[in-house]
């Protein structure tokens, strides 16, 4: 009986937990969706991303983002409100102006870090 209970307990613990936070791959995919959505990030309007068609060129190309923004918070803040660093910036304040939530900006950062 004890053995049975032990085996059952171990089997249950080995099951993947339903409803837990998604994997990094999921996050990157969600971040990419938000970035491509022209009602949300619409990043390609102004930034080139490798492999994307007909990108704009008003902003710098988005590559080597982990190298350029090693601190996650700095990139998050830049997307949240680019005018804080540069008041002249044409980049919309995606967070401050209510276009993206903090969660969405986090997912975009996850996607950026994959570029």
């Amino acid at each position: 009986m004890k053995r049975f209970v032990m085996i059952a307990a171990v089997s249950i613990l080995m099951l993947p937990s339903p409803g837990k936070a998604s994997t990094l791959e999921d996050k990157i995919m969600k971040g990419k969706q938000i970035s491509s959505d022209n009602m949300k990030g619409n990043c390609l309007a102004c930034h080139a991303i490798q492999g994307a068609e007909m990108p704009g060129n008003l902003g710098p190309p988005l590559l080597q983002m982990k190298l350029r923004y090693p601190k996650r918070k700095v990139l998050h803040d830049q997307i949240w409100d680019a005018t804080k660093k540069n008041p002249q910036s044409i980049m919309p304040p995606f967070g401050k102006h209510g276009i993206l939530t903090h969660e969405e900006v986090d997912l975009v950062v996850d996607y950026m870090y994959s570029l």
């Binding site: 309007a45 007909m54 990108p55 704009g56 060129n57 008003l58 044409i90 304040p93 102006h97 276009i99």
Partner: protein, 285 residues
């Protein structure tokens, strides 16, 4: 007694002369300020696009991009706005119910594009060509036309067409005119909307840049070629229709066509294009 009266009258006269002189100085200030603004504006684009001839700015993106220019030249062989011009001629020449026509209001057979926009001292506001067309209609017992497209755009297209080549020379010669000019200037440079963008952001600072596959047109020459047959609209439309669309695009609530805000903006933009020639109507993407 006589001497005191004489002294007082002289003093009053001197004060009046001083006031007049002051007004002249202030008026000269307006004009000097506006001239400075025009020079700064032109110099910016001359530095950004050194190969582009000044007169060519009236052609917008087609002046600054060779590929787009080639495509546009091909379109110009059978201009999509020509039907609107023909329709506009018919509308312009058709008498009102009272027997009069637009020529009773507009001189030179309607070759008056170059007179608009202007600051009307009596009305205390900027008057545009489309506004004047409706004023003419209402003065003759007709209903005013909708301002974004349709008949008013066709009439405006015809009048622009017959006025082609006339110089852009908008005057800012009074305090009222300068106030309207400055309101237009503020509108042009201020960021607005959820996207926090300004006219100047796209059409000055990033003029010539790409937004996806579209080139941002330079603001110099912006208003010379309206109304336009825009492929996106599939028909002829007015400058204020375009202003409204731009406002929408950046997440700002658009103003009504021919609102004071858009008339002041048109006033400022046209002053910045002083020295170019009117070349409407035009075709655009």
């Amino acid at each position: 007694m006589k001497q005191t009266l004489f002294k007082r009258s002289l003093a009053l006269l001197l004060v009046l002369v001083a006031m007049m002189a002051a007004r002249q100085v202030v008026a000269a200030d307006f004009q000097a300020n506006v001239q400075t603004d025009i020079k700064v504006f032109r110099d910016f684009f001359a530095a950004r696009f050194p190969e582009v001839k000044f007169a060519d700015y009236a052609n917008g993106v087609y002046a600054i991009d060779a590929d787009a220019c080639q495509q546009w030249k091909e379109i110009e062989e059978f201009p999509p706005y020509s039907i609107a011009v023909e329709d506009g001629k018919v509308l312009f020449e058709k008498p009102f119910a009272n027997g009069k026509t637009y020529t009773a209001y507009f001189q030179n057979g309607g070759v008056v594009r170059q007179n608009y926009p202007y600051y009307d001292e009596k009305k205390g506001t900027v008057v545009t060509l489309e506004m004047a067309i409706n004023e003419c209609r209402v003065a003759n017992g007709e209903k005013p036309l909708e301002y974004k497209g349709g008949d008013i755009a066709k009439i405006s297209a015809y009048m622009a067409f017959i006025s082609r080549g006339k110089p852009v020379d908008v005057k800012v010669e009074s305090e009222g005119a300068y106030k309207a000019y400055m309101k237009g200037k503020e509108f042009f440079y201020a960021k607005r909307g959820q996207l926090n963008m300004s006219c100047a952001g796209c059409h000055v600072k990033y003029a010539g840049g790409w937004v996806r596959s579209e080139i941002l047109s330079p603001a110099l020459g912006h208003t010379t070629h309206f109304p336009v047959f825009r492929s996106k609209w599939g028909e002829i439309g007015t400058l204020h229709k375009r202003y409204g669309g731009c406002s929408d695009n950046i997440g700002a609530k658009s103003f009504a066509a021919q609102s004071e805000e858009y008339r002041n903006l048109e006033f400022f933009e046209t002053v910045m294009s002083n020295g170019l020639s009117f070349n409407g109507p035009a075709s655009r993407k």
